[in-house]
């Protein structure tokens, strides 16, 4: 076991590596963590993911933009590849919830969707990724097949976001209880409400927070029922 001080140092290095998109630093710090007996799950959550939280803040405050966030995500993935095989199965790896995610038909942009997917996976969601340009019925089929709690729809352009409206109608008709979150550049909270979505997220960190709130809501309903 490492000292508290050394543990904090490793976490800080993992965070710094993610925040400064320094893949080499993340690689080094991840190996150090494993060699010195640091719990891999702890390193992922309090090192890598904590770094990504800061990246989210930098994005919100417009210090970082999409290219920077993508490079941070690459650095984070370097660490995940090293650490994840060492996570001890058990309570910590319990699935938080299940999510179907994809970019709607007519839209081939998937950067936002992929960032949201990554945040979900780190937070312990099981993610069923349908990819991009996804026919709307496929969202319904996949939600039914996996009995997922949440469906996340993404569109990048005004000219493609209309598919989400139809997808929401189809999903709600098949399963009124499913929670639907939409996101993407042209989408707004007003549009989400108008179309009957349960949530809206302007970016990846907000998407995760929104999803965790939805899951909390669902669990409450289940425990009451």
């Amino acid at each position: 076991m490492v000292s508290e001080e050394r543990d904090a140092e490793i976490m800080a290095r993992l965070q710094k590596g993610v925040i400064e998109f320094d893949e080499e630093l993340v690689r080094e710090a991840s190996h150090e963590a494993l060699e010195e007996g640091v719990d891999a799950y702890h390193a992922i959550m309090d090192g890598l993911a904590a770094g990504m939280d800061v990246v989210g803040e930098l994005f919100t405050s417009k210090e970082y933009f999409v290219p920077e966030v993508l490079m941070c995500a690459d650095a984070l993935n370097v660490g995940l590849d090293i650490l994840r095989p060492h996570v001890v199965r058990g309570e910590k790896s319990r699935v938080v919830g299940e999510v179907v995610i994809g970019t709607v038909e007519g839209d081939v942009h998937d950067i936002g969707k992929n960032l949201v997917k990554m945040m979900f996976e780190i937070a312990g969601f099981a993610v069923h990724d349908l990819g991009r340009d996804v026919p709307l019925d496929q969202f319904v089929e996949e939600q039914t097949r996996t009995d997922s709690d949440i469906v996340c729809l993404s569109a990048m352009m005004t000219t493609t976001m209309l598919g989400m409206k139809t997808a929401i109608e189809k999903l709600k008709a098949k399963n009124p209880d499913v929670k639907i979150m939409i996101g993407g550049a042209p989408v707004s909270a007003e549009i989400a409400e108008k179309w009957g979505a349960d949530g809206y997220a302007p970016d990846a960190p907000n998407a995760l927070q929104e999803a965790l709130n939805m899951i909390k809501g669902l669990r409450k309903l289940e425990s009451q029922g």
Binding site: K62, Y64, F65, V66, P67, E68, L70, M71, D74, E105, G106, D107, V108, H109, I111, N114, D133, M157, T158, T159, T160, M161, L162, G163, A185, P186, S188, E190, I191, K194
Partner: protein, 346 residues
């Protein structure tokens, strides 16, 4: 003050020459086809991208049905990428509105891209379709109504031909490599704009939506993208407009200095702040929400929006993106009526 006796074409061209046009013109540099124009012919949306006659007829329907003061082609963002060898999905069998997308890129990685501009650009891909449409529009209504055409900006086209996430990362990691690709794309776009002008387009819009500050920093815009926009715009005959959508307040000053005769923004832009920043003489267009207001809103929302846009300093009523084709007739009618009623611009 120029009186209302001018026809639409004279009003639009007069605006770019710095004349004060009364009442404020209503037009766009981007797509404005509506389902109402398509229904007259029983055409489905995918058909109008592939046939010059259908493209022209669809583009002409909006000025004819509503008095909109321009006709604009093409409708989709695939023309340039297709010329370079990308595969386009037209969603050919669909009956609803889906814009064509790039289904096969030149390469996944920026490092692997090899750009070859066809020697016979006039005859490449759908360039003949678009030029035929421009010629037909020019013949059919070109004395009365302004004919517009548009090309993508170099960076946005870059995102069409290679995976966007790699392009964005390489813009940071290997700016020289991205720069050399953008130079190739500049040449294609300059040549294409020239072909459209030659065919009869009255004005040209460069749509650089990939360079919005929702995606890249104002700093990177200035160092990597702006030089290419300056270069492309310097080689396009006037009138020429630079359009960037999304969050553009941080770059609107830079946009105004790229060499365009006018800049265009969408509804996310704080127009009054932009006007204050670029000064009273620069021409700024856009800000009208082409879906939230024009499709989802009622006529009263359209009327209010027109009033706000004029008050905030726009030089024309110009939708911030392609008009979504299912726009209700009463909203299009109100758009025209509200502009007419409100009198001149600034």
């Amino acid at each position: 003050m120029v009186s209302g006796r001018l026809n639409s074409r004279e009003r639009v061209l007069g605006l770019f020459q710095g004349q004060e046009i009364d009442p404020i013109p209503v037009f766009s540099g981007m797509g404005n086809v509506t389902v109402h124009g398509l229904e007259e012919h029983g055409w489905r949306f995918p058909e109008i991208h592939l046939d010059g006659y259908k493209m022209a007829t669809a583009a002409a329907s909006t000025p004819r049905l509503f008095g909109f003061e321009c006709a604009v082609v093409p409708f989709d963002m695939g023309v340039e990428a297709e010329v370079l060898g990308c595969e386009v999905n037209y969603y050919a069998h669909r009956t609803d509105i889906l814009y064509p997308t790039i289904s096969g890129k030149l390469a996944a990685k920026v490092e692997d891209v090899d750009i070859r501009v066809p020697e016979d650009l006039q005859g490449a891909g759908r360039v003949p379709v678009v030029t035929e449409a421009i010629r037909l529009l020019k013949e059919g209504l070109g004395d009365e109504v302004a004919v517009g055409a548009w090309v993508l900006g170099p960076f946005t086209l870059g995102g069409q031909i290679v995976d966007l996430d790699d392009l964005l990362k390489m813009s940071f990691k290997k700016p020289d490599l991205v720069n050399s690709i953008l130079e190739d794309l500049d040449r294609l776009l300059i040549a294409l704009a020239g072909i459209y002008k030659e065919a009869g387009a009255d004005y040209l819009t460069v749509r650089e939506m990939g360079a919005t500050s929702d995606v890249i920093s104002p700093r990177l815009f200035g160092s990597l993208i702006r030089p290419h926009l300056e270069r492309v715009l310097a080689s396009i005959e006037s009138p020429k407009i630079l359009h960037i959508c999304g969050d553009t307040n941080a770059i609107v000053g830079q946009m105004a200095q790229c060499g365009a005769d006018a800049i265009s923004v969408d509804q996310k832009n704080d127009l009054a702040a932009s006007r204050a920043e670029i000064g009273p003489d620069a021409i700024i267009l856009g800000n009208l929400d082409p879906y939230g207001v024009l499709v989802e809103g009622g006529p009263e929302d359209v009327e209010r929006s027109v009033g706000e846009i004029i008050a905030n300093g726009a030089d024309a009523i110009w939708p911030g993106c392609d008009i979504w084709p299912t726009v209700p007739v009463e909203n299009m009618e109100m758009l025209m009526a509200a502009a007419k009623k409100s009198g001149g611009g600034r």
